[in-house]
């Protein structure tokens, strides 16, 4: 008998758009209409499919149909038309901007075609709450291979040869980390998964923890076996409620099936994992701070002249890797290091997951081979800028990363290239910015974030970032001077040099890169007292182009301050006195008639 499966995406993005109602409604209707009569139909809730922009997504296999923006009220039509009669509901298909037409399968869109999934291989294809789904797709086979056919030394060699580098940001070779820990003769040893994804604009780890928790567990057990550890921890942000729930459930099921706990798969090897909930401190994503937090202390980093592989959690040898790194391990073991090594660039092997967000058409989660160009990522996979506005920059690497301008868009994405241009890979946030994004405001935004998240241990980081914030705020308010820019750069170098951990060392990046690539915007704020993007309220005035205005009144309708007046047949006007500079009018105008007033203000 043929099986048919309906997959309903229940990642956080789709859940916010009520995908759970869609799931329940489909389930109810399938039972009611007895669709099971000749084809067995199963409805599954899955993790994030990536294309959150078009959610909730409903996939039907093996028919290879994907519906987007599905509402609970569409369920009946899907059941009657597609499941019973085998017809396609046209209006629910995804519109692929690149081809300018609707496509039946999501796999036909540029968004999915350019991707290669390793870490995300199962997400969207399995029900994360059911370990059998994972096993059906080859889950825990890598563990079996390791436990019964490989000695620890072989496992580590394989990871070393694969060239896998840590996906958490630093890019330290994973195999080397394991080797160092393996060679130390001090027990107990610990294995930690860093799931404290605090970077604003990044949700790779959340999606993996939610959508495929077992792959993380399997990766950790494989490492534990090779370094002879018996105890592991998964540190997950408290904000990630669904990830916590799914991981808890996966750990329980893995224990029941004998993949975790005592005598794993009757091999005689013991290993168990505990979940630790994070407390909402960004700095705890730093490995030594995270270990402090697990121990029940305030999460302050320590100097790293003694590595964690030697003295980590409770002073014992510890291997800590990021969620995405763990998710790569089982695939490398199964397919071999040569296979993994063949993907990517010379010093960055494999793929990388990015959360492509901001002012881009196809926002969502993507996994691409290392070496893909930024242009391909933003314009092909991302589909370009919302409203076809002008691209300005893409910000990578979270608060410690940098802003990359148009001129560098043809560079390949890998660890070293991004570092060379002043940004970094980070954990994989890619935030696309357009002409309506103010780069001075972006720099201020990150510095503000970091000033709140600095733990306060190092003076340079605690005080230096605060002073930088003051200067940037002044510039945004039109009170900046040109000398400020030199002072700012000076401060940047001091903070960089005199801070202990990664947070402080990389904190100046957003300022340095915007100063380097977007200095004209700083000058516009300082000399002309004008914010070219129309973001900084003190330095912004909007105006309506009388020639372009069709007096449709949409801007007035969207104005929260009722600052726009007009009547039919005559161009509308903005009352500058009551304008709150929210930009709704610019975004809502379909004729490009509203814009930021040009020329110096004073």
């Amino acid at each position: 008998m043929m099986n048919r499966t309906v997959y309903v995406c229940c990642g956080t993005g789709c859940l916010a758009n009520n995908s759970m109602d869609v799931y329940k409604e489909l389930k109810r209707l399938i039972e009611e209409y007895e669709v099971d009569a000749d084809v067995k139909t199963i409805v599954k809730s899955t993790g994030c499919n990536g294309l959150c922009e078009k959610g909730p997504l409903v996939k039907i296999e093996p028919d290879n149909i994907c519906y987007s923006k599905v509402k609970a009220s569409d369920a009946e039509e899907i059941v009657k038309k597609t499941l019973i009669n085998g017809d396609i509901v046209n209006r629910l298909l995804i519109f692929d901007t690149a081809q300018g037409k609707k496509v039946i399968s999501h796999k036909d869109t540029d968004f999915y075609k350019c991707q290669q999934k390793i870490a995300l291989r199962n997400i969207g294809e399995i029900d994360p709450g059911n370990i059998d789904d994972y096993i059906e797709r080859g889950g825990y086979e890598a563990l079996r291979k390791v436990l019964f056919h490989m000695i620890p030394d072989d496992v580590i060699s394989e990871i070393e040869k694969s060239g896998l580098r840590g996906r958490g940001g630093g890019g330290f070779p994973t195999g080397r980390k394991w080797r160092q820990c393996y060679s130390i003769d001090n027990f107990p040893k610990y294995v930690i998964c860093n799931g404290d994804e605090g970077d604003p604009g990044a949700f790779m780890d959340r999606s993996i923890l939610e959508g495929d928790p077992n792959t993380v567990i399997e990766g950790m057990i494989i490492c534990a076996y090779s370094i002879k550890s018996h105890s592991g921890f998964i540190y997950i942000r408290d904000e990630y409620a669904l990830a916590l729930k799914n991981m808890d459930c996966a750990l329980r099921q893995a224990r029941e099936r004998g993949y975790l706990g005592r005598n794993i798969m009757n091999s005689g090897f013991d290993f168990d994992i505990e979940i630790v909930r994070g407390g909402g401190a960004f700095v705890c994503g730093e490995s030594t701070a995270l270990m402090q937090s697990i121990e029940g202390n305030v999460g302050e980093p320590r100097a790293k002249y003694i590595h964690s592989v030697e003295k980590g959690l409770w002073g014992q040898p510890t291997v800590l890797n990021n969620v995405e790194t763990w998710a790569n391990i089982p695939e490398i073991i199964m397919k071999g290091s040569d296979w993994f090594n063949s993907i990517g660039t010379e010093n960055s092997k494999g793929t990388k997951v990015f959360s492509l967000v901001g002012k881009v058409k196809n926002t969502g989660l993507v996994e691409i081979p290392m070496g893909t160009t930024l242009r391909e990522l933003v314009f092909k996979i991302g589909g370009g800028i919302i409203g076809d506005r002008k691209f300005k920059a893409v910000q990578s690497g979270g608060p410690s990363g940098g802003c990359i301008p148009e001129s560098l868009m043809d560079l390949p994405v890998d660890f070293d290239t991004l570092k060379n241009i002043g940004s970094m890979m980070g954990s994989g946030g890619m935030i696309v910015m357009d002409e309506r994004t103010c780069m001075v405001d972006v720099a201020r935004y990150y510095i503000n974030f970091l000033s709140e998240e600095s733990c306060g241990k190092c003076v340079a980081c605690r005080e230096g970032i605060k002073r930088m914030l003051e200067i940037l705020t002044d510039i945004c308010n039109g009170k900046g001077s040109e000398e400020d820019l030199d002072l700012l750069e000076n401060l940047c170098h001091t903070v960089e040099e005199a801070s202990l951990c990664g947070l402080g060392k990389t904190a100046p990046n957003p300022v340095l890169t915007t100063l380097k690539y977007f200095k004209d915007e700083y000058y516009a704020h300082i000399r002309d007292k004008r914010c070219p993007a129309g973001v900084c309220p003190e330095l912004t005035e909007y105006e309506i182009d009388e020639k372009l205005c069709k007096s449709c009144g949409l801007c007035a309708k969207n104005c929260p301050a009722s600052a726009i007046r007009g009547e039919k047949g005559k161009p509308y006007h903005i009352n500058i006195e009551s304008c709150v500079k929210c930009g709704n009018c610019i975004d809502s105008c379909r004729f490009n008639a509203v814009g930021v007033k040009k020329g110096a203000r004073l």
Binding site: T12, G13, G55, P200, A241, G279, S293, Q395, G429, C455
Partner: protein
């Protein structure tokens, strides 16, 4: 409620989080009790309770509104949501309404960047928010009066 954890320092954060969930904040008496239970000085617990953002020493409103100000939300003008909430409820981030109905918080990235800007009330996510949607949703929670 402490009994389910062994008397070990490493469970401090988990216990504090449980208290936060139970009471909506961490009451002083409970912090004292915890200090005795774990035999950890109150000052140390205080430093932990003030370090982590998930913990609060002051009571929260019945409904907690979280506005995400992650980068993706920020550049899709999350600030206009905050302005709208301030207009409607008269509270700034970190404050609670006088009637104890609402607290407003800014959070750094909820990992829902694809549907930015995002607002969360209690545990419900609202994506692709606009100021006019904010007003309507607040009404559902009995927040915005008709003018």
């Amino acid at each position: 409620m402490f009994e389910k954890y062994p008397k070990e320092q490493r469970y401090t954060l988990a216990m504090l989080q449980d208290l936060q969930k139970e009471y909506g904040y961490i009451p002083r008496e409970k912090l004292l009790e915890l200090s005795q239970y774990l035999d950890i000085p109150l000052s140390k617990l205080y430093s932990i309770a003030t370090f982590y953002k998930a913990l609060s020493l002051t009571p929260k409103g019945k409904n907690t509104i979280k506005v995400c100000d992650g980068t993706a939300c920020h550049i899709r003008s999350s600030k206009s949501l905050l302005d709208e909430i301030e207009n409607t409820l008269g509270i700034k981030p970190g404050e609670t309404t006088k009637d104890g109905k609402f607290s407003l918080e800014i959070v750094n990235c909820l990992g829902s960047c694809a549907i930015a800007p995002v607002m969360v009330i209690n545990d419900k996510y609202y994506g692709k928010m606009t100021s006019s949607k904010v007003r309507e949703i607040l009404k559902e929670y009995g927040g915005a009066d008709d003018e």
